[in-house]
């Protein structure tokens, strides 16, 4: 009887949590190396495999997914447009250009320093996008993501050109196409910062919801609109730069997840932000698992799988009939 009395949001949360747990275990079990979860207890080699490769890879997918979904959510709040996310606003491409320049100009710098440079570049690129996006007419909401995609394309072209001159195209393709196959212990830990940013987003969830009501409404309610914009910008840029540097760009996560959660649960972010993060993790994890098994023992990068899955969902979001007349 207790199960029936659980209300819908709670039940959805339970289902989401359970699904994520199953995906997590599946991700631990799938791979080229011979391995089964049951043997971890008495087989030191299996334990090593788990700790060095499988667990880091799974955690990286969980963290990157949650971070990207939250980044998309914040981006949509700041731009007041449902169809933007880091990869459709030039953020990810700016981060790419940043990490490329850091590699060229500061070859000796450590990875965190380079990530910092990439974050700075992402911030600059996103600021330009947001400033321009607000000048586009609000009556045509589709122009904003369109502008963002081409803007990202132009920045990406600049990065390609620079990389090609410096003979770094190989590196660039690592950053442009998200792939978890290279993730090992010691090479993904920067992503834990993404968890921190998710926590920040959760703390300011109410403020974000009000920001989505528009500048006038948020100032009227006493919110420091400019400072929230800056905070959001920093969070989005840091998350994008982290994922680009550690695993490479994964398109569409930040776009698809917040939109679907919003359809199911509404936009009161205090209640939904955890679901957005969890669904993002689940989606990325799921796509990574698909990429690992579809052509076993070869791997297909998660960025490619997500390009297909996310593109289809995006089109569905664009052309679905609205909920109401």
């Amino acid at each position: 009887m207790t199960i029936i009395s659980v209300d819908t949001p709670t039940r959805r949360r339970l289902v989401a949590g359970l699904g994520l747990a199953i995906l997590f275990l599946a991700s631990l079990s799938v791979g080229v190396g011979e391995f089964s979860l049951a043997r971890v207890v008495n087989d030191p080699e299996a334990l090593q495999l788990l700790l060095i490769s499988r667990l880091p890879r799974t955690l990286a997918a969980v963290l990157a997914g949650a971070g990207l979904a939250i980044a998309g959510l914040i981006m949509q709040t700041l731009a007041q447009n449902r169809f933007v996310e880091p990869s459709t606003a030039g953020t990810a491409q700016s981060a790419e250009l940043g990490i490329l320049l850091a590699t060229l100009l500061l070859p000796a710098a450590s990875l965190p320093i380079k990530t910092l440079v990439a974050s700075g570049a992402a911030m600059a690129g996103t600021s330009v996008f947001l400033m321009t996006a607000h000048r586009l007419p609000p009556t045509q909401p589709f122009l904003v993501p369109l502008f963002g995609i081409v803007y990202g394309g132009v920045i990406g072209a600049a990065a390609t050109f620079a990389a090609w001159h410096a003979d770094l195209l190989q590196f660039l393709s690592v950053w442009t196409n998200g792939d978890f196959s290279g993730v090992l212990r010691g090479r993904y830990e920067l992503l834990w910062f993404a968890a921190l940013t998710v926590a920040i987003a959760w703390l300011v969830a109410d403020r974000l919801t009000i920001m989505a009501l528009g500048r006038d409404a948020s100032i009227g309610l006493g919110i420091n609109h400019a400072r929230m914009m800056q905070l959001g910008l920093v969070v989005v840029s840091v998350i994008s730069a982290l994922t680009v540097v550690v695993v490479g760009m994964i398109p569409f996560v930040g776009l698809v997840v917040p939109n679907i959660v919003s359809r199911l649960m509404g936009d009161n972010l205090r209640g939904t932000i955890v679901c957005v993060a969890a669904s993002g993790s689940g989606l990325v994890l799921g796509c990574d698992i698909i990429g690992r098994i579809i052509r076993f023992p070869y791997e297909i990068p998660v960025g490619t799988v997500m390009g297909v899955v996310g593109g289809l969902v995006f089109l569905w979001l664009l052309f679905r009939r609205p909920d109401h007349a």
Partner: protein
């Protein structure tokens, strides 16, 4: 009391407001009237610090709108702009609840919930409280926005053409509700109205604007005369007296 001194505003090279000097006393309903483009909305958004002051000063109960911290001011003055669009998928109760944000920074106490419920009741929205905003009609959405503004619980309430999208029944209900909170709770309501008969029926005081200047300031009886109205709106209209209040036959 809202004191506006020497306020001018220009947008790029276009002047919007010229040297406005105006005092709106505490308490009662003040109606702002005037033709399109008179600067009414700009004046309201300056009072509610949505735009930075370019010249002059505006104080509300002695608090300068450009010097008081925004969260403090949010407990004193609330503004509903015209044509506010809510793109978020929020339930009516959630939206109205965000009106309480300045008081608890997001945590809703029992008292907050009571105020939210009261606002919902005042605008006849209780039946819609758990519906998503996007499923409501234009008039219902407008009422939800007004309810959110009232829930903010400020002493000063600024409303920019709140009767847009409302049918006659709810236009009357809203004006009565505003009259009631002014009379019973001592709130100050400043409201932009295009229907000057609503202004005549419910406002204590009329401020008329034209071309970025205040061209009239007084009781309805003093402003709603054929001569003054012609000066404001540019055509002559008949004014009758009905139930002791001026009734403007502007459509004839």
């Amino acid at each position: 009391m809202i004191r506006i001194e020497n306020v001018s505003l220009r947008y790029r090279t276009t002047p919007i407001l010229h040297d406005i000097d105006l005092t709106i006393p505490k308490g009662g309903v003040t109606a702002l009237i005037g033709p399109n483009g008179a600067g009414k909305s700009s004046l309201l958004s300056l009072i509610a610090r949505l735009q930075p002051l370019q010249t002059g000063s505006i104080t509300i109960d002695g608090l300068g709108v450009d010097s008081t911290p925004s969260p403090e001011l949010a407990k004193v003055v609330a503004l509903l702009r015209q044509d506010s669009v809510i793109a978020s998928r929020l339930r009516v109760r959630e939206l109205v609840g965000f009106g309480r944000f300045p008081h608890g920074r997001g945590r809703l106490t029992q008292e907050d919930c009571n105020i939210v419920n009261q606002s919902l009741r005042q605008l006849d929205l209780t039946d819609f409280a758990d519906r998503f905003m996007e499923t409501l009609s234009g008039g219902q959405r407008q009422r939800a926005l007004v309810a959110m503004t009232l829930a903010q619980g400020t002493d000063y309430i600024l409303l920019d053409e709140p009767l847009n999208n409302l049918d006659m029944y709810y236009a009357r209900t809203l004006m009565q509700a505003l009259r009631a909170i002014a009379d019973e709770n001592g709130k100050t309501v400043v409201i932009v109205l295009h229907d000057i008969n609503q202004a005549s029926a419910y406002a204590d005081r009329i401020v008329a604007m034209k071309g970025g200047r205040v061209v009239g300031d007084g009781t309805p009886a003093a402003i709603f005369t054929p001569d003054v109205l012609e000066g404001i709106f540019g055509f002559r209209m008949r004014v009758e007296t009905f139930d002791g209040k001026p009734l403007v036959l502007h459509h004839l």
